[in-house]
């Protein structure tokens, strides 16, 4: 834990990586205005790893879009410490660029000068253990490799907040497990704050310091758990399974309410 604590201390002047105050969002639907998010208030501390957990229709992705600044809340305010980086379920790498050039584009758009980009890109690829993939085209990489390049590209933004929208949902279980280990390692090494959205309870518990459960239609904060299990965790660990069970029961209760009328 040594690395994370020191990094958090260095940034103590900043109170939060993201702060949401009474955020609501509604869209025009077939039956008038449809409330998707209802009064969400949430702080992500610098260096903190938070997962947002919920069933379909809880507005997880809408919430991430709001925090990423791709959309505006109907009510309430959102503040972030700089522009957040965003990682999607699909890798969203640009197929006309090589893996390395994808990362360099992120650096370029951030204003990194030309002769530093190559080195930084190589370094980021090394961080996600893809040394030697610089010149590879996106279609030449496996699903897991693509998500690691996407992670490297997101890290290239050197943002204080990394938003992740079910980034491992489309991967096979073995690859996902390995990427959990990698994400935990990289999070500890870089000290970045992470807001991670998922519908996988065990994944949420495996990764996070804090799990926030959202109810569905509209999305509200239903409950919150602080995960005290020390890292590195494994998804099969008994404490992870135990907490997952508890959260799953609450989640099922939330879902059940929708069938009763």
């Amino acid at each position: 834990m040594a690395t994370t604590t020191t990094l958090a201390k260095a940034e103590e002047s900043v109170e939060y990586a993201a702060r949401l105050e009474h955020v609501s969002k509604s869209f025009a639907g077939p039956g008038g205005q449809q409330l998707v998010l209802d009064d969400i208030s949430l702080d992500v501390a610098p260096g903190e790893f938070v997962t947002l957990l919920g069933a379909s229709g809880c507005g997880k992705s809408t919430l991430l879009n709001l925090v990423a600044g791709l959309d505006k809340p109907t009510v309430g305010s959102i503040a972030t410490d700089g522009r957040p980086a965003l990682m999607f379920q699909e890798h969203a790498l640009f197929p006309w660029l090589t893996a390395g050039k994808n990362i360099e584009l992120a650096l370029k758009l951030r204003g990194v000068v030309k002769n530093e980009r190559r080195d930084k890109a190589e370094h980021l690829l090394e961080l996600v253990r893809l040394k030697g993939a610089y010149g590879k085209r996106v279609h030449e990489l496996s699903g897991g490799m693509r998500q690691r390049v996407a992670l490297a590209r997101a890290l290239a933004q050197e943002s204080n907040l990394l938003l992740m929208d079910e980034p491992f949902a489309a991967l096979d279980a073995i690859t996902r497990d390995v990427l959990h280990d990698e994400l935990t390692r990289i999070w500890a090494e870089t000290g970045v704050s992470v807001l991670f959205v998922t519908h996988n309870v065990r994944e949420a518990v495996r990764l996070a310091q804090r799990v926030i459960l959202l109810s569905s239609r509209p999305g509200r904060i239903a409950r919150e758990w602080t995960v005290g299990i020390p890292q590195p965790r494994r998804i099969e660990d008994a404490p992870v399974a135990e907490l997952s069970l508890e959260i799953t029961d609450v989640l099922r209760g939330e879902i059940r309410r929708h069938g009763q009328h």
Partner: protein, 292 residues
Amino acid sequence: MASTETTPAQDAGSVEAGLDALETTATGRTPFSQTFKNKILPPIIAIAVVLVAWSLLYPVVDDPSKLPSPGDVWGEVEDQWLKGTLLDYIWGSVSRGLLGFLLALAIGTPLGLLVARVKFVRAAFGPILSGLQSLPSVAWVAPAVIWLGLNNSVMFTVILLGAVPSIANGLVSGVDQVPPLFLRAGRTLGATGLRGTWHIVMPAALPGYVAGLKQGWAFSWRSLMAAEIIAQSPDMGMGLGQLLEVGRTNSSMATVFLAILLILFVGIAIDLLIFSPLERWVLRSRGLLVKS
């Protein structure tokens, strides 16, 4: 955590390396013999079949003023070659065609971008642009001659009217097909406005754009040939359309055939040498070309 972490982290790394190796397949180049069998041989056979059919048909028609023999046409090739005019005819048309095409490119590209990205412009000019694509640009030859006189600018006008809509429409459909995910990803990376257009929209739209260029070239060439055949004047210089007209006035069917075949071959050659490789390169680099 640092000391306890080393083992599982190293473990993850080695598992990862194994997964990466398992999930990527090596691709090599196809051997030449296979390329020859699959790509080169079929068109050669097709040409041979056409020549055989032509030779068989020749004695049936039995009228060289209507159907010349393949030998007659070949004799015409030799004749024009010895006179030193064959390449002039070809180059005259090709240089006009390519120059006109480049002009169309310079106009069609910004026009396409405007139509694709600005709502008002699309509503106003989108339908006209699509409509122009179905209007044969030969229709413009007569008014162009009246406005501009019998000279090269008529040719360029007709080429532009034929190719600009194709190029612009190709770009518009290319932009329309850009996955929204790329735009979102671009915006989170800070590519907005003109930077977004340059770094994300243009490269993402490239396949549609190249398809538009390919079609634009076909339209350029077709319009140019029509214009050369219709607008006859000594000031026009040499071109394949003029060659065809020379054959017509001399009642030499062999010359007419030669001109038609050359028009066909030049069209195919430019496509094979420039546009097809460009298209294949664009598709292959994105993994969109499936090896058959």
